[in-house]
Symmetry: C2
Subunit: 492 residues, 2 copies
């Protein structure tokens, strides 16, 4: 600790990697592409989980747990989905190791324990879950079926980065079945809205809601809703997706229901998920050159108290005040840590808490005891002030609220100032190069043009945004007619 980070304007990518490790969020493991989520990072993830879980349950979803491994034959059943994930899946072929006679103390695969059918570690669980839904759904009485799963999944990515792209990651995946197309579409939209509200209100991350183009859709979906956030380096990050799966999986797994009228039909489906990738979005939305900046809603502790003392007597006196403050704050449901470690000096502690993004820091020294004050430092603005101990709880309550709102406002201001409308391909490239951010432009609606732009500029269509008016225009590449602008960006 105490070592500074690479500055963002020097090397944003290096800054990110260093921050994740130095703030004790996560680190690379000895397994290629897989991360270890450290306790501090994990406790932020737990807060994300708890809030989302509450929202899922409030909207009538139930949690369940399905197996980690998917038999190859099930995986193959929905063709597009299989195609989309086959090239990056971990395959279990054997179920036993044995002693390696040639290398004492070593083990090797026991070829006598080869599986008859290979098993895939789930990259996503549609195949397995729909094969199960087949048995759970007979009649309209069984619908809607609204299930969520918190789980680990695995995609064998070649280039990995902590939180943003890892071979194994944690996520939730919702899977629902409905009697009508309309109801399934509404569910997919509802969950995208829940994600958006969660991102904005809870994580203080502004997002744009929209639809993916066909080439950017989830493999197996008829429509993919998404929320797109903008990182400080001008690159977009897909923060959550919600898919309308049509009847694709119902047909692949023969899932039919009998209606009130006695007729049979395939059910309609959705799936939706967010992952530990949100941790990456969180970091890159709010943090600065001094380290992590956390919205109070997500802080493992919102306030830290650091005592400053020269002898045992002082420490005892300060402790008494600190413990009282701690109790008063906890009574108001404010989480607080009294950092009374005698193994580290105050300066070291300050640096650590700054790196870890604790929203508010209270320092109490001998002079504060005399004056009845404390020093209060705000992590996001780095402002310090002296506050009367008497008013402290109220001050902290309002500051925490202020920080939560101000982080969102700041990020929104940045995001909004980085949506650029362009009408020519030349301006498109120039903007992408010099400013980054979202570029709002007309597109002719073809996969070919989308592909050409991607190949030439690395920018992809992040989404066809909701809530924007139609507007007649011409595709920036082909000049063909277009009736709506879409949002392009380079993306994580």
């Amino acid at each position: 600790m105490g070592k500074s980070l690479t500055r963002r304007d020097e090397d944003y990518s290096k800054w990110y990697n260093e921050l994740v490790v130095k703030a004790d969020l996560a680190e690379n493991s000895s397994v290629r592409g897989c991360m270890t989520i450290k306790p501090y990072g994990y406790s932020i993830w737990e807060k994300i989980q708890a809030e989302l879980d509450k929202k899922f349950k409030e909207t009538g979803h139930q949690n369940a747990y399905f197996p980690l491994l998917v038999p190859k034959s099930l995986f193959e059943a929905e063709e597009k989905n299989a195609e989309g994930f086959a090239k990056e899946c971990a395959v279990v072929t054997h179920y036993r190791l044995k002693n390696d006679e040639d290398n004492p103390g070593k083990l090797k695969v026991d070829e006598n324990a080869k599986l008859e059918e290979e098993l895939i570690i789930r990259p996503t669980s549609e195949a397995l879950i729909w094969n199960t839904f087949k048995n759970w759904i007979q009649s309209y009485r069984d619908l809607p079926l609204k299930i969520n799963q918190w789980a680990n999944v695995m995609r064998w990515e070649m280039r990995t980065r902590l939180f943003l792209r890892t071979a194994e990651f944690l996520w939730q995946e919702g899977h629902t079945a409905h009697t009508t197309k309309k109801e399934a579409l509404e569910e997919a939209e509802l969950m995208n809205n829940i994600y958006a509200e969660f991102a904005e209100k809870f994580m203080a991350i502004p997002v744009i809601k929209g639809l993916k183009t066909e080439s950017e859709r989830f493999a197996g979906a008829d429509e993919t809703y998404c929320i797109e956030a903008l990182m400080q380096d001008g690159k977009a990050l897909q923060a959550g997706t919600s898919h309308f799966l049509g009847q694709n999986f119902a047909k692949a797994f023969d899932v039919k229901y009998t209606g009130k009228d006695g007729k049979q039909d395939y059910v309609w489906a959705t799936s939706w998920g967010v992952s530990t990738r949100l941790m990456g979005a969180l970091i890159m939305t709010h943090s600065d050159d001094n380290g992590l900046v956390l919205p109070p809603n997500l802080a493992p502790y919102q306030v830290v108290i650091v005592p400053i003392f020269k002898n045992e007597d002082q420490f005892a006196q300060i402790s008494e005040v600190a413990q009282q403050i701690k109790a008063d704050l906890q009574e108001k449901n404010i989480s607080v840590k009294f950092d009374d470690r005698d193994t580290h000096k105050p300066g070291w502690k300050f640096a650590q808490h700054e790196m870890q993004g604790v929203p508010l820091r209270i320092a109490i020294g001998p002079k504060d005891l005399e004056k009845g004050t404390v020093e209060l430092a705000r992590r996001d603005t780095l402002e310090k002030s002296f506050v009367e101990q008497e008013n402290l709880v109220n001050t902290i309550q309002s500051k925490l609220e202020e920080i939560q709102n101000s982080l969102f406002d700041k990020a929104l201001k940045y995001r909004d100032s980085h949506i650029t409308e362009v009408d020519t391909y030349e301006d498109f490239k120039k903007t992408l190069d010099k400013k980054g951010g979202f570029i709002s432009a007309h597109w002719d609606g073809t996969a070919e043009t989308e592909e050409k732009i991607k190949n030439e500029t690395k920018a992809t269509i992040r989404c066809i945004p909701e809530n924007t008016d139609n507007e007649e225009g011409k595709c920036i590449v082909t000049g063909k007619a277009s009736n709506k602008r879409v949002l392009f960006a380079k993306a994580y």
Copy 2:
């Protein structure tokens, strides 16, 4: 639903399997030996998780997440542990599938995507975690390190049973590191005590705390503490274990710390875990021939309200009363479901809620409206009574408490009446055969005798119980001296 279960005295094993499925707790999946935990079962597991997680955090543990896959070379590092798990582990050998040219639409393993080193799906995470702890621990300042992980693990069991023994299961695994042997031993004991208290106070399952014999210990442990419960069929079930790992893993992974005195030493370790197996213990401790019986602490909903009506008008009037009761109960933190489905009749609902073990059922019919009463049925005793609506909330509060206590008392009485002291091998076999339960007997302390008894009777030493006095005696098999009775039983 509505179909009855096989009776316990007919076929206990069949009763269990049917109950798990009919109460909607879990079912077998299309993956050999792996289960799907259904929403109702999972919500019980969530309650187990929440309570344990709180207890872990209160005692200074932090959650983290480590990778699912363990490189073979790491897995090999602690020899006994590797030996203990090598024969039943799922092995990932490839990271890609490709199209099978011979079978259009099918996929096959891509031999060009063979891993250089095989990866094992974690059967337990000591190897991976200790390889990580190596980087986290340098000085006494980093200790104690007290980590817990909620995760899925996999052991390729040949004979599986829902919850009791499945290839994949969910669990928590605690892993701690300490400066002294004493502190590590205290931690291992503390966690075993926490498990015991949780089992008894929260799950209403009486347990016996003790130590495992050397042959029953966790592979890699110097000492294994355990809690042992007794099922209704007289078989024991190991409900949780807490291991003192000595310096075995510290040595295998070279994890040393520098003390205050500047000297280096290996750290001392513990690990401890409980799993979805607890669901099996729960079912087999309390349930009856009508289905699941749940202690109120673990019930997804503690009270269900079933309306009984012949027309819309009646339904509207009953609904109003039911909604008020629901609100009043929720205010007292009692979870309640108003089963207002119009797709099922009251009798069907009664049967379902009985099968699913809802502790209290309220039925409200037209006569109840007139009289200002409701019918209250208790799941554990099947007693019914009419209660004034006015007193309902108080009655329910006290009934729930009563049920929680009475389930424990009943199970304790059964357990205590099934601990039999025997002094001859003949009596041992006779008791095991006719009565089952725990058999308290003298044993000469050798693995040979233990093995002989196991081979001849299928009974194992469940534990060397804590809190029992020493007593001079003679081994029931060899007649050699013994100074303490140990507990034998057939076990799940």
